[in-house]
Symmetry: C2
Subunit: 472 residues, 2 copies
């Protein structure tokens, strides 16, 4: 049709849009299959959100589980994901992920050279320990180490990586198949008119691996109007929806776009995920309480799932205060100094000072804590049903540590529809020829709620499938 | 572009697709504004789901509320809708609905000639009584009376209504505005190739009023994979997604498509909504219990919202059994004979017979009921927190009435994005010129969950707006 150029500027067998885990996995597999491959990244630097990922990788029946004598199965992993996803997961996609997770993990070690800590963790929502941690030099963002290893392989294989290349159009021929891409070369985010237009012909396939849209205020607030610019994101700025929108424009089927995950453990007093969030996850939520500063009262079960907690905090209209004491702070003690230095966490000698600082009605707060302490003693929360851990103790030992909490947009579960071959499905229910997708730009794998440590493995499994099939 | 025909077969100022409440309201207003109007209905008969609607109409500050001294406000109605919608409602749309509800109600009386019962009901989720019931000859489906009155006005105004006219394409010109429609005339549902193609030029606007997609197994199960063909719908067969998909194809923005409402009060032993559902709503759920036949145990708070109950029943994997006794059946006694005759409800002299019939472990059921009866006596459900009504009594008086329950797809909250002028919003965030939409085909008004009695008023308010603006 009209959109195809008179002449192409260049041609490749496979073009991969996006340079995070999914894109790199796709490019590597396509190259192994003998295709000429180009990776296009819209930003000046590669990696997207993968660079700031926590490096946690879930896999069923891994060698690590075998070594640690942990019984697991793809079926159990699938069940866990479907339970968290409230049954909205596309069965064939989640099954594929669970079945191929072991192989993808092994691939990351054997072919990419990643190392993992000799430890298998059981994260919330997983029935057994099955989460591995990429080995790195620091305990934060170890996903960057996985990224660097993958980038090393990309370079070794001679795959071309170009930055500041913005996907403006997916170009269809008269039969509806993708024949190429219209790119703005020299693009400067977020200026949509920057750079110059170039046309790349694609002989075998395009892989969309452009990530989610957590940082796209317009698009996300259309799907969930609560998520205005007042709500921050744990994602990098570049996590926007242009490529997803372009896929919709050419007829890809949208899927579950309004399921957007918020992190309830986020603080407005630091950027991104941050160390305060980590402290809140291991200390404040499990051992302390969350109150509304206006009333001084609790309003949500602190052990409820991410969605329930985040929704409840948002509903109060302003940041909540999470409070724990010296004993409750122990599980997060290695982060304590950094939190205090960053001022995301504040220490108070007594509850009066804490109330005064946050303008909380002091008597109400005292009363709230007195009640909570009695629940801890009786091992039963009579108000909100919070799980009282066996080692939980009443909040009486100063210093009291307080953190402001306001949810941040963390992950977009929805996206475009793919099948288990990573082919993008059109509105006519048929695959769009030569178009593949993997990672957060796709929908249906995680359903209503993504379990922790299932994002990287999603990128690896479906990125590889997309790359292999795009090269056919 | 290519899609426009060499020659048009006919021309109109305004073409309305769909002949339910929203479509008729739009057609009437467009005609009042002086436009030539054609209503196109894909089925042999007009009315769609509006014909089987319950005729309940919510409005804030109606003359009826004034007469009955009920304090209300558009803000309160908006708050109620947003609360039910979990905050996902588009604020400008829900505000418009609440603000214009009084006027639309008045219009239905003054201009359409509808009469309402002199009674204002308070439905679940509404803070005050604000629901009116269309006066009819029977107490079921009184929406049909509203439909007939509207159809009378349509005829009186000389608006042309054509049936078996299937929207195949919305035709855009090179500037992206809608110039006409490609229709299959003589279409026989659901044969997509039936009828002959005709091209209607549209000089002012097209109004999409094609309803929801509750009966479209393919489309709904893409958005919510639980909703396979095994789940029935309360809707008519024609509630399918073709027109919505066509709107997406030409670049309309999809919105919250995966929020699909299930009716937990539905029985697999009757078609559609049915009388058994009505009985369950007023007797079984408020006064009785719901158990899983496999275990003989309760598994959900019977007074929870529609979504929680429906999700819980689906999760058990097979129809639940709702049980009440002679006293609990009283609120539904006027429906009792019809329910028993239709065999959707069954009466048992004792619990042994009931257990035997449904193959429920008898001792477990006895035990479940004994426990439940003790909660009723103590006015507190210690297991699931069910609201024990003040007039609730232990389940001890035979006959025991049992109904099989399995959710049915009832309403699709999502659809295409419109603004408060009922203009359809494209993926580029701009209105698509000359394209309007109203009613269930649109998304964002009801958010995650539509409150009862808010569907007809939605059709009237936005149907009118769409018709007025399409005629400009």
């Amino acid at each position: 049709m009209k959109e195809l150029p008179q002449e192409w500027d260049e041609e490749f067998d496979v073009v991969v849009i996006g340079s995070g885990f999914a894109g790199l996995a796709a490019a590597i597999e396509a190259r192994y299959a003998g295709a000429s491959v180009s990776i296009l990244e819209k930003m000046k630097y590669c990696g997207g959100n993968s660079l700031i990922s926590d490096g946690l990788v879930a896999a069923a029946c891994s060698v690590f589980q075998r070594k640690h004598k942990i019984q697991d199965s793809p079926e159990l992993m699938q069940d866990d994901m479907v339970k968290a996803g409230l049954g909205l997961n596309h069965p064939d996609l989640v099954r594929t992920l669970a079945e191929k997770s072991k192989e993808a993990l092994q691939w990351s070690m054997d072919c990419i050279g990643v190392e993992y800590l000799d430890r298998v963790d059981q994260l919330g929502g997983h029935s057994v320990p099955r989460t591995l941690t990429v080995k790195g030099h620091s305990s934060f963002h170890t996903g960057a180490f996985l990224f660097r290893k993958m980038m090393g392989v990309v370079k070794r294989l001679g795959i071309e990586v170009r930055t500041q290349m913005y996907l403006e159009k997916l170009l269809k021929d008269e039969n509806g198949g993708i024949r190429g891409v219209q790119i703005r070369q020299g693009y400067v985010f977020p200026e949509s008119e920057s750079g110059t237009v170039t046309f790349l012909q694609v002989k075998k396939g395009v892989v969309l691996a452009t990530g989610g849209f957590s940082s796209d205020v317009d698009f996300r607030s259309t799907q969930d109007p609560r998520l205005t610019a007042d709500v921050e994101s744990t994602n990098r700025k570049a996590a926007t929806a242009e490529a997803l929108i372009e896929a919709l424009r050419i007829g890809a089927t949208p899927l579950q776009l309004s399921w957007i995950q918020l992190g309830p453990w986020a603080s407005p007093d630091e950027k991104g995920s941050g160390v305060g969030s980590s402290f809140a996850s291991v200390s404040t939520f499990p051992y302390g309480i969350i109150i509304a500063p206006k009333t001084g009262r609790r309003f949500v079960k602190e052990s409820a799932d991410r969605k329930i907690r985040a929704d409840a905090i948002l509903k109060t209209g302003r940041p909540s205060i999470g409070i724990t004491d010296a004993r409750g702070a122990k599980p997060g003690k290695h982060m304590l100094d950094r939190c205090l230095k960053k001022k995301v966490l504040k220490a108070f000698h007594n509850l009066e000072d804490l109330s005064g600082f946050y303008k909380i009605p002091s008597e109400e707060l005292q009363n709230t804590i007195k009640k909570f302490n009695s629940y801890v003693k009786n091992k039963r929360d009579m108000e909100f049903g919070k799980t009282i851990l066996t080692d939980a103790q009443p909040l009486i030992h100063p210093p009291f540590y307080a953190i402001r909490l306001w949810p941040k947009v963390h992950h977009t579960m929805g996206g475009i529809q793919i099948n288990k071959n990573a082919q993008v499905i059109g509105l006519n229910k048929q695959p769009i020829k030569q178009l593949y997708a993997a990672g957060e730009v796709t929908g249906g794998i995680h359903g209503a709620c993504r379990l922790g440590s299932c994002a990287i493995i999603d990128c690896l499994v479906f990125g590889r499938i997309a790359g292999m099939n795009a090269a056919l």
